[in-house]
């Protein structure tokens, strides 16, 4: 019924009444009908202003999103670059530490092997009873220096193996850093998708785009290794500092 009685905000019944009033010469009621029609038109205008306000509000909200993007561009991307460079440094250091340990251990092994081969040769001669007493005394002297050397060299090699073992911790540390960068890349992607969505239908209803809001930093939130030159928070730089801090707390 409304659809028929109402064309583009004009109330047809009211319009008929207006014509009737004017024909009957009833100026007073004609004026009151005009007033009421104008009020309806004005309230339509208010609705339109309300709609514009909402669009303006949404547009402003999307500017807040832009803030987050500029933060990503100005701080977090360079920060991620520094973190990734640190990953290179850590893997480089681990690789060199491992290679050095292997290079140091290799000659120790070679030396043991060579001495063992020499001794074995003489030992075979001795077992064949193909050895003079003087040579036998020489073999005994060599054995008495070789045996403690085996023990010492094994300890030496085991030390190098421990170094190789410890050098592998880079994988955990770099993994944590890379995970953080991956989540940053994901956020950049989301924001870019949102931007495309926004520019695609700037005038439409935007829904709520609240990404990047509510990022209240928890100062004790886990964030992986501290990166030199990137992390500015107060952090300890060595195990000694950890120990000092803990002992200041009564540990």
């Amino acid at each position: 019924m409304y659809e028929q009685a109402n064309v583009n905000g004009f109330d047809i019944d009211q319009a008929r009444q207006l014509v009737q009033s004017l024909e009957a010469g009833d100026v007073e009621s004609a004026e009151s009908i005009m007033d009421s029609m104008t009020r309806v038109r004005e309230s339509g205008l208010y609705q339109e202003i309300g709609k514009l306000t909402r669009e303006l509000h949404n547009a402003l909200r999307s500017f807040e999103l832009d803030d987050r993007i500029s933060e990503l561009a100005s701080d977090e991307i360079p920060d991620a670059k520094a973190r990734l460079s640190h990953v290179i440094n850590m893997t480089d250091e681990a690789a060199n530490k491992t290679l050095t340990a292997v290079e140091d251990a290799m000659p120790v092994c070679d030396d043991l092997k060579k001495q063992a081969e020499d001794i074995e040769e003489e030992w075979i001669r001795f077992m064949r009873r193909d050895m003079e007493a003087e040579d036998f005394r020489g073999l005994c002297r060599r054995l008495s220096t070789f045996i403690p050397e085996v023990s010492g060299s094994s300890q030496n090699i085991s030390g190098h193996l421990s170094t190789v073992l410890m050098a592998q911790e880079f994988q955990d540390l770099t993994g944590q850093v890379i995970r953080r960068v991956i989540s940053l890349v994901g956020e950049v992607e989301d924001n870019l998708v949102n931007l495309v969505r926004l520019s695609g239908k700037m005038t439409g209803s935007l829904g709520s785009v609240d990404k990047g809001k509510g990022l209240v930093e928890d100062s004790t939130k886990a964030e992986g290794p501290q990166i030199p030159g990137v992390d500015k928070a107060e952090a300890v730089r060595s195990q000694d500092e950890v120990d000092d801090l803990l002992s200041s707390l009564g540990f």
Binding site: Q171, Q176, T220, A222, G224, V236, S238, Q239, F251
Partner: protein, 130 residues
């Protein structure tokens, strides 16, 4: 210090679990189990009669600090010695772990010597306190 004590290593990176396990082996500990997260560690701890917990902080499901809090809040586990081995090096974090009742805190990267020293210290303190 009982070399047969049962130790749980919790870290989401298997390489770090292997490193810690190998170091503990070198120190003479053989009775070692592993968990890859606080959430998988907690049921193990509740059913496993562990004597010592070595945990990372930054893990996907349940963080080490939350695991520590759960352990301290659990009547059966409350006295379990806990050592954190973590890359988290901010002072607030170390203080928070101390307040949550950690027994030792090692910052990665660390050395085998540091690990040995801290474990010895933790058990010396427990034995002298007991």
């Amino acid at each position: 210090m009982d070399k047969n004590m049962k130790i749980l290593i919790v870290d989401d990176f298997s390489t770090m679990r292997r490193i810690v396990r190998n170091l503990l082996n070198e120190l003479g500990f053989q009775n070692i189990e592993e968990a890859d997260d606080g959430a998988t560690a907690l049921p193990k701890l509740r059913n496993g009669n562990f004597d010592f917990l070595v945990t990372d902080w930054n893990m996907p499901q349940m963080q080490g600090i939350d695991l520590l809090q759960e352990v301290r809040a659990d009547a059966k586990l409350a006295n379990l010695p806990v050592m954190m081995v973590t890359a988290e090096a901010k002072k607030e974090q170390i203080v928070r772990a101390a307040q949550a009742g950690v027994n030792g805190y090692i910052v990665k990267p660390f050395t085998a010597e540091t690990l040995r020293e801290k474990i010895t210290k933790i058990f010396e303190r427990i034995e002298s306190g007991a």
